[in-house]
């Protein structure tokens, strides 16, 4: 399409009507619009409408079983103190803040570790050695397993009475039982799972680096270490930042690991999405649940904007 495009205009405009000339460009724009229309409608239906409903319900008092009987309450779902001094808004719920703290810890630590390990793995599989193709495929296995499955698998491994780790390595310690150790156990699972994704993105970045640059560096007598810090890392920055943004977003809205490994109630104090689910589904509070979802949306948006502006990430 893009190759043909510049070639056509000179041959296409026939003399009769001057208007037609602009019409070609216009027609192309229209064609593009019509081609995009189904996608736009689909996005409006699957993303726009739910988003609108969520924002709509976040300012209503509503019950999940009777969404039709919603009444407008303004921002009371977020913050409201009764005459007796009892805070009813979710921002006044300590459990929400615990969930936020835990999610942030989870995000920062797991994304950091994944980046470091991903970089190491990528550098290893980027160098030429026998069996490289096999290793590149093999490293994707954890990423390929659905999270629900791998989380259940790890929950069994952590089990204190029959688990490979819980019983075998730790001799009967129940890592998941204690919330302060559970978060580290969850981070370990996430790192195990997504390091390969990070490695893949970084590997793609590494492959685009010109090989002659390193030859020149070798000629100039730069050590491998200097080459990594002065050449590889700066040139890798764009790819690395995109990967970081993706992983941070994923980690911030983590849900399945917590839900499967800790259960609904404990997941609600370990992840923001778990808290939203508990309010919405278990507690039937459609209004509060939607308000929490809106808050999560805002938090994630703010972090993305911060990332993109601070690091000048380019997505193209």
């Amino acid at each position: 399409m893009t190759v043909n495009a510049p070639a056509k205009p000179p041959t296409a405009p026939p003399a009769p009507k001057q208007k037609r000339v602009r019409g070609i460009e216009g027609a192309r724009a229209w064609q593009a619009f019509w081609l995009l229309l189904p996608t736009l409608i689909a996005i409006a239906l699957v993303a726009g409408f739910p988003l609108y409903r969520t924002i709509f319900f976040s300012v209503q008092e509503a019950n999940l079983t009777t969404p039709g009987q919603a009444t407008y309450v303004g921002l009371q779902n977020f913050w409201f103190t009764t005459a007796e001094g009892i805070g009813l808004g979710f921002l006044q719920d300590p459990q929400w803040w615990q969930a936020v703290r835990n999610t942030l810890t989870f995000t920062v630590v797991s994304v950091f570790l994944e980046t470091v390990f991903g970089m190491i793995v990528a550098l290893v599989v980027n160098s030429a050695f026998r069996g490289r193709a096999f290793l590149r495929t093999a490293m994707l296995v954890p990423w390929a397993i659905p999270t629900v499955v791998s989380a259940q698998m790890w929950a069994y491994m952590y089990n204190d009475s029959f688990g490979l780790i819980g019983q075998g390595v730790l001799g009967g310690q129940a890592l998941l039982a204690d919330p302060s150790s559970a978060i580290w156990a969850l981070i370990a699972v996430d790192v195990w799972k997504t390091t390969s994704f990070m490695a893949l993105l970084i590997l793609a970045g590494l492959q685009s680096l010109p090989g002659d640059m390193y030859e020149a560096a070798d000629m100039d007598g730069a050590s491998k270490w200097t080459q990594f810090w002065r050449l590889t890392l700066p040139l890798l920055r764009p790819a690395l930042l995109v990967a970081l943004v993706f992983r941070s977003l994923d980690a911030l809205r983590v849900f399945d690991i917590m839900y499967v490994m800790l259960g609904a109630n404990d997941a609600a104090s370990t992840s923001m999405t778990g808290y939203a689910r508990q309010q919405l589904i278990d507690n039937q509070l459609l209004g509060v649940g939607s308000a929490v979802s809106v808050a999560i949306f805002i938090i994630i948006m703010a972090i993305v904007v911060a990332y993109v502006t601070a690091f000048r990430v380019k997505f193209d």
Partner: protein, 419 residues
């Protein structure tokens, strides 16, 4: 005239047959223990008898997960499921989505069930569901091990239980490093609410929220009860007990790795099955007392017909069949599910299969209800706050006294403008 009558009866016959014939009813079954198989068998018997077909919908294992799924179906007014299996704490929550069985089921049939359960199934005069089986917490113990360590009866108090469990555990650990004294439901979910309510009541700590809706949990007895349970973790119970539900506890007990277990009656038949390592070595007793008598939490499941069902007549017939005496008897004999009909507790076949049913009838009839009545739509939040608070104490993050104090604040917050 004759012709008219003939014609009339013919049309009636066609109408009747088209109504009764070949409908498909979807039944949501639980999947804990043998539940699913029993559910399928019972449905198949009804299908064979009536010529209808039954599609089985397999529900999630944990009751919390099940509720979430059902509520989504019901809120969407989905006709995908005709008959729902309802936990005893749900009628107040879901009443509006279910057909009023009063008037559609003969009064005599309704009255043949335990009155307490019928009361729990009745919301604002509407009979939401019929009782299918009842449940109460029980103490399971290993008769062979008690004898081996010189005990001749099940423990009467929690202190006694702790002493016995410790002695047996210390002895058995020499040969079996994974052996543990006492397993129960310590995971932060509805099951922990049940277990902890039993501790509270047996210590005289009340029922979290009383019948008038007053929050009563902040009292020294309740604190003591929770502290006592916390003292079991890592001493007579494994560290991982705070991640166990019903099935995890049963798995450990049934593989011969625990001396005591708190569980529901369904664990009996499974423990006596041929592949069970503890077959013939299980005793069942009321749960120990903390000084205020023994207490068992009332559980149990009921069957209700969805308002959005397209085959309500057939669905009601299925419910009546499954909750009927004949079917409840089969379930009691095959899998130790407690009948909700007092008459069946005198049935010889039932008593032969479950020798403890007769002597523990008191436990079943006087079981303590969770505060789902007074807290209505907010019961789930109350239960979560309670199990969360207990869980904090069990994990050593809080003490009993601090936990019940904080819980009182949390419950006041949940109560907000009223239950």
């Amino acid at each position: 005239m004759k012709k008219a009558i003939a014609l009339f009866s013919l049309t009636a016959a066609i109408a009747a047959s088209s109504q009764a014939g070949a409908v498909q009813v979807t039944l949501a079954c639980g999947t804990v223990g043998q539940e699913l198989q029993l559910c399928k068998d019972g449905a198949a018997r009804w299908a064979k008898k009536t010529g209808n077909t039954v599609k089985i919908f397999e529900s999630p294992n944990l009751t919390n997960d099940r509720l979430g799924l059902y509520q989504q179906q019901l809120a969407a007014k989905s006709d995908a499921i005709d008959v729902y299996q309802l936990d005893i704490i749900w009628p107040g929550l879901l009443a509006q989505h279910f057909v009023d069985l009063k008037g559609k089921v003969p009064a005599a049939e309704v009255n043949a069930h335990f009155k307490g359960i019928i009361d729990a199934d009745t919301v604002d005069g509407k009979l939401v569901a019929l009782p299918w089986f009842t449940d109460a917490g029980l103490l399971y113990y290993r008769t062979d091990l008690l004898k081996k360590y010189g005990y001749n009866a099940a423990p009467k108090t929690w202190t006694e239980l702790a002493t016995m469990a410790k002695k047996i555990q210390d002895g058995e650990k020499k040969a079996n490093s994974t052996f543990t004294g006492f397993v129960w439901q310590g995971k932060n979910y509805e099951g922990l609410t049940c277990d902890a309510l039993e501790w509270l009541v047996s210590f005289g700590g009340g029922t979290i929220v009383d019948n008038t809706g007053k929050i009563t949990v902040n009292n020294p007895n309740a604190a003591k009860a929770i502290d006592t349970a916390a003292s079991w973790v890592k001493s007579i119970s494994p560290a991982g007990v705070t991640t166990y539900g019903e099935e995890e506890a049963r798995g450990i007990f049934q593989s011969g790795n625990a001396a005591f277990m708190r569980n529901w009656p369904y664990a009996w038949a499974l423990g006596q099955s041929p592949d069970s390592k503890v077959k013939g070595k299980i005793g069942v007793a009321p749960l120990p007392s903390g000084g205020n008598g023994n207490a068992a939490t009332l559980g149990g499941w009921n069957l209700g017909v969805s308002m959005y069902s397209k085959n309500q007549a057939a669905a009601i017939d299925l419910v009546r069949y499954l909750t009927g005496a004949e079917e409840q008897k089969i379930r009691a004999v095959e899998a130790a599910y407690n009948p909700t009909r007092p008459a069946l507790y005198k049935d010889q076949a039932v008593l032969k299969a479950n020798p403890f049913f007769g002597s523990l009838l008191d436990v079943f009839t006087s079981a303590v209800a969770r505060p789902s009545g007074p807290t209505k739509l907010k019961y789930n939040q109350v239960s979560q706050a309670f199990s969360g608070a207990v869980s904090d104490v069990l994990n050593g993050k809080s003490t009993g006294t601090a936990a019940v104090k904080k819980l009182e604040t949390d419950l006041a917050r949940i109560k907000g403008r009223g239950w």
